[in-house]
């Protein structure tokens, strides 16, 4: 396929193809393995993520859930010595195909990180920057306002858009980072433990955001907090030692796990 191809003709065609409901899954991994040198951190994971749903990936620390998440938008290749095998299909295209442009992939599959990491720019620029480099044609003021409203930050910052993003609290910074991601109007939002560095109040705010955000985006969230997964997700995958042990509706996974390892984890016997 030519969706993400690096040549101009290929990337132009992406606009025509992106549209609702063409396949059951917004994103699909097939036999996805990630190696750090000789260590296999993610082992042949196959999983499909449903459109406009929140999917949580849970598991003890070091189980490979973050690595898997970063494999979905090719963030791992920024680290030297990481090798990825298998496929990640987005609109039917394996994003690891040789002629697929990682820049394009990341532009459609946004990401929010563990710690808030706003740029050392103004609040306004934090949001406008990504849109600008990606050739946004619309009105930037409007985009900034819309994006901030989507993360319920507009009212708090509308009078200080020119101020540095570092002036915001941790929770606000993280919502700004989400706003920054949604300003690109991506299809998928990857969230890597987005609340682990935040206080409970800020955490609650972000959790409540997810309900709104999933109306527009497919969300995949990695969390070490089972309660959080239970609260926010529609589907949940449980990973252990790099393997995807079980994947089902969140309720099923929590209340009726099929695999004994899942049951052990859920009931708090380890991890």
């Amino acid at each position: 396929m030519r969706l993400f191809q690096k040549n101009a003709a290929g990337s132009d065609r992406l606009d025509a193809v992106i549209g609702p409901g063409e396949s059951e899954h917004a994103l699909e991994a097939k036999d996805l393995s990630v190696f750090y040198g000789g260590f296999e951190a993610v082992k042949r994971v196959s999983i499909g993520f449903e459109r406009k749903k929140v999917t949580a990936l849970i598991g003890p620390s070091g189980c490979g859930k973050s690595t898997a998440l970063r494999a979905f938008n090719r963030m791992n290749e920024l680290i030297s010595g990481v090798r990825t095998e298998g496929e990640v299909r987005f609109h039917g295209v394996n994003v690891y195909e040789r002629d697929v442009d990682a820049v394009k992939v990341r532009r459609w599959i946004g990401m929010v990180f563990q710690k808030p990491n706003p740029f050392s720019k103004s609040i306004y620029e934090n949001i406008a920057w990504g849109a600008r480099i990606n050739g946004y044609k619309g009105d930037f003021d409007e985009l900034v306002e819309n994006s901030l409203k989507q993360v319920a930050l507009w009212d708090e910052v509308k009078d200080k858009l020119k101020e540095s993003a570092y002036a915001l609290s941790g929770g606000q910074q993280q919502r700004l980072c989400i706003a920054r991601a949604v300003a690109l109007k991506p299809e998928i939002l990857l969230m890597d433990e987005p609340t682990s560095a935040l206080d409970p109040l800020s955490t609650a705010k972000i959790e409540s955001l997810l309900d709104d955000l999933k109306k527009r985006y497919t969300i995949i969230i990695v969390t070490h907090n089972m309660q959080q997964a239970g609260r926010v997700s529609d589907k949940t995958g449980f990973m252990l030692l790099g393997e995807l042990v079980e994947y089902s509706d969140t309720k099923t996974l929590f209340f009726n796990p099929k695999d004994p390892r899942t049951e052990n984890y859920i009931s708090g016997r380890f991890g």
Binding site: K6, N7, A8, S11, D12, L14, D15, I18, G19, P20, D101, V103, K104, A131, I133, N134, G135, Y136, K137, G138, L184, K185, P186, E187, R216
Partner: protein, 414 residues
């Protein structure tokens, strides 16, 4: 919801711009390396090449027809000398070494440089000599029909083993090399022990008091003081203030008619010692800091005193790195020019420096002197001296690396 229609397809041009700038970044790096290459090439280029020699006195007029000066017998040479040399010069040379005891080669040199007096009429660089030989030959036959075209290595063993003279053809760097080595010995003698001791004190003994923090900050600041300021310090303190000591008159040393009045090897070496002291301290501190704390604790735990711990464990463990840092500082000192000019390097020395109370010149000083002369010949002499200087610095660094590796090996197996 899909946002794709809101975004222009700009990726191709963005990647193109990325490639262009990547090239720019690479080019700036390459430029720095190209500059280094150009620097070295220029020096080599200038240190070798054709020269056109024109004799002040025609050699053929000195010897009988059909003979050449080169290869002439000692008697012929003596005759030429007796006739051509001024009585004063004759006596001076006779005093230096009686003519009867001089070898043929020696006599030939005297005839050549004292009577024939070959002059450089034109010089060419190495690349000109290699690639434009034809043009050079044509030019020479046109402009200097009497001239002789010879290929000259300005940097040669003769250049290395000859003392300073006023003429570019006969001058050498031995005086400057001796001066540099003597100066740097003084520098090492003072800066190494003091620097390493200061580093030990700061790392092992000093508490985190305001005074010690001040000392530390002060050392960092001293490392950034322009070298010429150290020259001013050396001039005021060592040359003038401690004149009795640095001129050697306090020790009755400056008897040999040399009035150095404090502008001596000793003053120069001490000035350079102060100059590199902060760098040595900072490097030694880093080396000592890198020694693991457990080594210290295990030594203290068997009842060693603090100094025993430092002397028997910390210093041996860090000595290779201390040495590397110190040698880097010393090779900086070897190349220093400005402070030594200020301290009073001699512009011209008739005698090689023989001790710490001698007047001095050093390699960089001579390079400076020769470079600032307008005659082209001196440019070539300067290039040759630069080669000697760089070789000296390289061998110093090589020595340090070899010593360090040997010390490391001992550390591993010892």
């Amino acid at each position: 919801m899909s946002g794709s229609e809101d975004f222009a397809a700009n990726l191709a041009s963005r990647h193109a711009r990325g490639d262009r700038w990547r090239l720019m970044f690479m080019l700036s790096t390459m430029l720095a390396i190209v500059f280094l290459g150009a620097l070295i090439l220029t020096i080599v280029d200038d240190a070798f090449g054709y020269v056109v020699m024109v004799d002040e006195v025609d050699q053929r007029s000195l010897v009988p027809d059909g003979q050449r000066l080169e290869g002439a017998g000692a008697e012929t040479l003596r005759a030429i000398i007796d006739e051509g040399l001024s009585p004063r010069r004759y006596r001076a040379l006779e005093r230096e070494k009686p003519f009867d005891e001089r070898s043929g080669a020696d006599l030939y040199d005297i005839v050549l440089y004292e009577i024939v007096k070959p002059q450089v009429a034109e010089t060419y660089t190495l690349f000109e000599s290699l690639f434009e030989r034809k043009r050079i030959v044509e030019e020479t036959t046109r402009a200097h029909p009497d001239g002789e075209l010879i290929f000259r290595s300005w940097a040669s063993m003769r250049f290395l083993s000859t003392s300073l003279t006023a003429r570019p053809l006969t001058t050498g760097v031995l005086t400057a090399v001796k001066g540099s080595l003597l100066t740097i010995s003084i520098t090492i003698l003072f800066s190494f022990p003091i620097g390493i001791a200061a580093a030990i004190w700061l790392e092992e003994y000093a508490s985190d008091s305001r005074l010690n923090r001040f000392i530390q900050v002060n050392i960092y600041n001293l490392a950034g003081v322009p070298s010429i300021i150290y020259g001013m310090l050396g001039l005021a303190i060592f040359v003038r203030g401690l004149e009795g000591f640095t001129s050697g008159s306090a020790f009755g040393a400056s008897a040999a008619g040399e009035v150095a009045n404090g502008r001596t090897v000793l003053s120069a070496g001490l000035t350079l010692a102060l100059l590199i002291l902060p760098v040595i301290i900072i490097n030694a501190q880093e080396a000592i800091r890198a020694v693991s704390g457990s080594l210290r604790q295990s030594s203290l735990a068997v009842g060693a005193t603090k100094w025993q711990t430092i002397w028997h464990h910390v210093l041996p463990a860090s000595f290779d790195r201390i040495l590397t840092g110190a040698v880097l500082a010393v090779s900086r000192a070897i190349g220093e020019t400005a402070p030594l000019v200020v301290v009073g390097a001699s512009t011209f020395l008739t005698q090689d420096p023989s001790g710490v109370f001698s007047k001095f010149t050093t390699l960089p000083i001579q390079i400076y002197q020769w470079t600032s002369r307008p005659q082209a010949e001196f440019r070539h002499v300067a290039a040759a001296a630069i080669i000697v200087l760089l070789a000296l610095m390289l061998s110093l660094n090589a020595f340090a690396i070899i010593t360090r590796n040997r010390l490391r090996k001992q550390k591993r197996f010892g």
